[in-house]
């Protein structure tokens, strides 16, 4: 039996604070994606480099990022490294945790994308006098980013949703943290979390739709 009187005005009065939280959530997700893509490209190059130490490092990163819960990664970025005397704010811990996760997953996406690009293209570039880096930069990389563009959108959606794990490391300015705070204050659990869910949905929907538009514009043959 569910007996609860919904009082939407009590929750809607707090909407501005929640929207501020949504901005912080988007900021973290976008930053973590930008840094994550750069790191993932570096990891991908490490894995292609043929250098054992570099490719070992990249493989370890990817394995940990993909095979442990994101919650664990964020928790480690806060309490884990703090036991070595490094103190990060909840914001930084959350950003580092999500970025670590993003880079791992994206590196794996990039690997899949590279598989779809024939090796002969690199060789063709090299025979035209391009350097190894140049061939990668001008021939392979643009194609790789194009093929993995939609998987990247997926990861972006994940990044948005992962920000909700920030509460475990004391984050209280992102959308989920703000909602938890307001919940403790007012006990209007259902209204507040329903509103938060709608905001999360709208953000992720906006990301997937705009990604589709961008893809349609950028990738016309």
């Amino acid at each position: 039996m569910f007996s609860y009187t919904f009082q939407w005005n009590q929750a809607l009065a707090r909407l501005p604070r929640m929207l501020d939280g949504a901005l912080v959530t988007m900021q973290i997700a976008i930053l973590s994606m930008v840094i994550g893509v750069v790191l993932a490209i570096i990891l991908t190059m490490f894995r292609r480099s043929g250098n054992r130490a570099l490719s070992g490092f990249a493989t370890t990163w990817v394995e940990i990022a993909r095979n442990t819960p994101a919650l664990f990664q964020i928790y480690m970025a806060h309490f884990g490294i703090a036991s070595f005397g490094i103190h990060l704010s909840p914001y930084m811990s959350l950003l580092i945790g999500i970025t670590f996760n993003n880079a791992g997953y994206l590196a794996e996406n990039f690997r899949g994308a590279l598989k779809a690009i024939p090796d002969t293209q690199t060789r063709a570039g090299r025979s035209l006098g391009m350097s190894e880096i140049g061939a990668f930069r001008y021939i392979i990389l643009p194609q790789m980013l194009r093929i993995s563009f939609l998987p990247m959108t997926n990861q972006m959606v994940w990044a948005i949703l992962m920000t909700s794990l920030g509460v475990t490391v004391g984050m209280n300015t992102d959308l989920y943290g703000v909602t938890q705070d307001l919940n403790a204050l007012t006990f209007r659990t259902f209204e507040l979390f329903a509103i938060a869910a709608v905001i999360f949905y709208l953000i992720t929907k906006a990301i997937t739709l705009s990604a589709r538009l961008i893809a349609a514009r950028l990738f016309r043959y």
Binding site: S3, F79, H87, G170, D181
Partner: protein, 269 residues
Amino acid sequence: MKTSYLTGALVAATMIAGAAQANKLDDIIASGTLRCAVTLDFPPMGMRDESNNPVGLDVDYCNDLAAALGVKAEIVETPFPERIPALMSGRVDVGVASTSDTLERAKTVGMSIPYYAFENAVTANEQAGISDWEGMKGKTVGATAGTYEAIWLENQVKEWGEGTFRPYQTQADVFLALSQGQLDATVSTVEVANANVASGNYPGIAVVDKAPMVPDYVALFTMRNEYGLLNYLNLFVNQQVRTGRYAELYTKWIGEGEPASLTIPGVYR
């Protein structure tokens, strides 16, 4: 003939309606089980012993209440943020979870008279150089999200206009962060502070001062419209104090000394 059918149908309808309108108190007595929401991350009020059984003052309080009602007690572990969903979705009948009776919350749930009152203490990391509660000004402080002291501390930080407030999800995380130096100080109930300092699990911390706040009165709670049950809860709390059980539980879980007074001079409740 027709009329008697009609009468029969009416009588049946009235009985069903009557049953449907039975209140929570009747439901609990009829079902033979009292389901209590208890937070087991809040020693010494609610915790687990070595064999993982729920114990603590709140657990005993639920057992006493069930005994008074003549039913079986069932402890439903409920972290602080999940107390209201648990109640509203019908997973529990009553909350015995050290819930502060703020006016804001009383708009959503029904609160009994206070059954316990906490005083709060400032616990600091020894490296932070904090010797009294005002020393927290400008520092990084934190508390367990959703608690009375967290709400107080967050407002205090806002009032000071400097320093940072961080809520963690569990009491254990707060003290871990404090011990690691991520937090300079925390405010928690005196009971929790003493228990954690004494446990030795968190090196480098010390209780430095009392927090200058109104005692944190906590109440039992249930659905706002269940007056029958709320009346019963009020009488139950009164009887616990009257019979000396309150003092007995205080000695059992907190230690020697006087339990806090549950009345406020100069006003009725």
